[in-house]
């Protein structure tokens, strides 16, 4: 394409020539990207915690008193494992249980060994998806030999709800901040175009095509987005570490290491910034492309 080098140079030069406005746009766009990034990171971490807690969130399936170890392991265990949404199902014998009780509560339980052991055999069951908790519990209850199930549905529900909430809020935040960023970039490019209206009017009078008029401004928008994305990528790395330290101080959590997310976050920021920049510029310039001569100059 003829003149692309010249047009690219003009677009980049324009970022520098209008550096005050460019700095303002970059500042606001970086802020928007950071807020968006924080929302995304929060959502990812909550999802990870929900996942982890979900896996740890074992329910205890107590068997009827007359079920011996062999029946439990050979018959009931496989039946539970065959059900949907079962991540793991481990046998927990009544003798293991009494030993645990004894170690935690003292020798009071020491005499309740063997035939005297009043505890039932049990299974520790973990689910794949906690949102299907109720259905899964119901299915387990229908397995022959199952007596009662320890009910932790509240925890499961709360975690699932929190995850849905964070995802929803994150999506709204990304949408809202995307629109704000678009508006800001569009205004920035509009300011540039206003300050360069003479050039635009001269371009049109000497026969520049719309493509030629448009391209430097689109490149300017893309460059603003690119710079903003780059800066936001660096800041978010430090911000994430700081946030994790602060949260860990209050609640012990196992966060996703930033190194796992760095490439995706940076690429997303940069691509998102560039797309917003290009669209913002296109929105602004459309108006000028339909004007002629003195109209462009506001006469």
């Amino acid at each position: 394409m003829i003149g692309l080098g010249y047009l690219t140079k003009e677009g980049i030069k324009s970022v520098w020539n209008n550096r005050m406005m460019s700095a303002a746009s970059i500042g606001v766009l970086v802020s928007c990207l950071l807020i968006t990034g924080v929302a995304v990171l929060l959502s990812l971490n909550v999802a990870r915690i929900v996942d982890t807690v979900g896996k740890d969130n074992q329910i205890t399936v107590f068997l009827k008193e007359n079920i011996d170890d062999v029946t439990a392991i050979q018959k009931i265990g496989p039946e539970i494992r065959k059900l949907d949404n079962i991540a793991s199902c481990e046998f927990y014998s009544k003798s293991e249980a009494i030993v645990k009780w004894e170690s935690e509560l003292g020798s009071l339980f020491g005499e309740l060994q063997g035939e005297e052991n009043p505890l039932p055999n049990a299974f520790h069951v973990a689910m794949v998806d906690l949102s299907q908790y109720d259905d899964t519990v119901e299915n387990i209850k229908n397995v022959e030999g199952v007596d009662i199930i320890s009910d932790r549905s509240d925890v499961a529900k709360r975690l699932t709800e929190l995850n849905i909430l964070v995802t929803k809020v994150g999506a709204w935040l990304v949408t809202a901040l995307g629109i704000i960023s678009l508006f800001i970039i569009s205004n920035s490019v509009r300011m540039t175009m206003y300050s360069r209206r003479f050039e635009i009017s001269i371009m049109k009078s000497v026969g520049a095509t719309n493509h030629f008029v448009r391209t430097p401004f689109v490149i300017e928008g893309i460059v603003l987005g690119l710079i903003s994305g780059g800066i936001a990528s660096v800041i978010i790395a430090f911000l994430y570490e700081a946030m994790v330290s602060a949260v860990k101080y209050i609640v012990p959590i196992k966060e996703i290491p930033y190194s796992e997310l760095a490439f995706q976050m940076s690429a997303t920021f940069i691509i998102f910034g560039m797309i917003i920049g290009a669209i913002g510029a296109l929105i602004s310039i459309g108006r000028y492309l339909n004007m002629e001569g003195g109209e462009i100059l506001g006469w």
Partner: protein, 274 residues
């Protein structure tokens, strides 16, 4: 070259700018369009440049009916024209060279061709030594010559000058018109809009007078007139611009009277298209 056939223009606010205008400008003519403010002169130019559409009638430029021309073709029409504005419309942050080069760059000319052609054109208008100056460092007359250089640089077949002497002193006004005359001698069609009747009378070119949106007089084509050498005294210059102040001595050597204005240097066919 340029034909207006029963052209009328009424603006959306109801202003009747032109009323049933019929004009034929031949290739290579030098035409002054004169008239008072609001007579319809600027509308006449805007219609040629296709900045405005006629309300009725049709216009042809270079044998093409531009009234029906598609919007995307308009830039290519404008590449056949060079525009000179009253207020010069130079870009302050660019040097003289870049202001002129700008017109070539925006139509995609290659850097080598731009450098060669711009230097040639700046030499032509006597500003080669000021190529690196900013417009603000130049006098009004020099700025208008930069504007003229920019209009010439793409080797247009038509030069349209909208009040080119409106913001410059009398001796420079004369020089600018003389320079346009020289360009015209090489075959370029020149259309100059002005309200300076006195200046027009010093040059023996065709004069079309517009008043109230109508052509009220047309002195006819150059073929109908005898070639008369242009002579103008300093006193006459002063009389033409009696309202102007600080008139300096006219240096008749500032622009060579027989400057060779040709298109020989143009671009080696490199003013590209997209």
């Amino acid at each position: 070259m340029i034909t207006f056939t029963n052209v009328s223009k009424v603006y959306p606010n109801g202003t009747k700018a032109l009323n049933d205008v019929n004009i034929n400008i031949e290739k290579g003519e030098f035409v002054f369009i004169v008239g008072a403010s609001g007579a319809g002169k600027s509308t006449f130019l805007k219609l040629i440049m296709k900045e405005e559409e006629p309300s009725s009638g049709f216009i042809t430029v270079n044998e093409t009916n531009i009234t029906k021309m598609k919007r995307r073709k308009v830039p290519y029409l404008r590449r056949t024209m060079g525009i000179v504005f009253q207020d010069f419309r130079l870009i302050d942050k660019m040097s003289v060279f870049d202001n002129v080069a700008f017109a070539m760059r925006v139509i995609g000319a290659k850097p080598k061709a731009v450098k060669k052609r711009v230097n040639y054109i700046l030499g032509l208008v006597g500003l080669k030594e000021k190529a690196h100056c900013r417009p603000a460092e130049l006098s009004g007359g020099e700025q208008q010559r930069v504007s003229l250089a920019r209009a010439l640089v793409n080797n247009p077949s038509i030069i349209i000058a909208d009040e080119p002497t409106g913001n410059i002193d009398p001796e420079m006004s004369f020089e600018i018109i003389e320079l346009l005359n020289e360009i015209n001698k090489q075959g370029t069609t020149i259309i100059v809009v002005t309200h300076e009747h006195d200046l027009v009378q010093k040059f023996k070119n065709r004069v079309i007078e517009i008043q109230g949106g109508e052509v009220i007089s047309d002195s006819g084509t150059v073929e109908e007139k005898a070639e008369v050498p242009i002579e103008i005294s300093e006193k006459e210059l002063l009389e033409m611009h009696s309202d102007d102040e600080n008139i300096t001595d006219y240096d008749e050597n500032e622009i060579p009277s027989s400057r060779k204005i040709v298109t020989e240097v143009f671009v080696d066919g490199e003013a590209g298209e997209e």
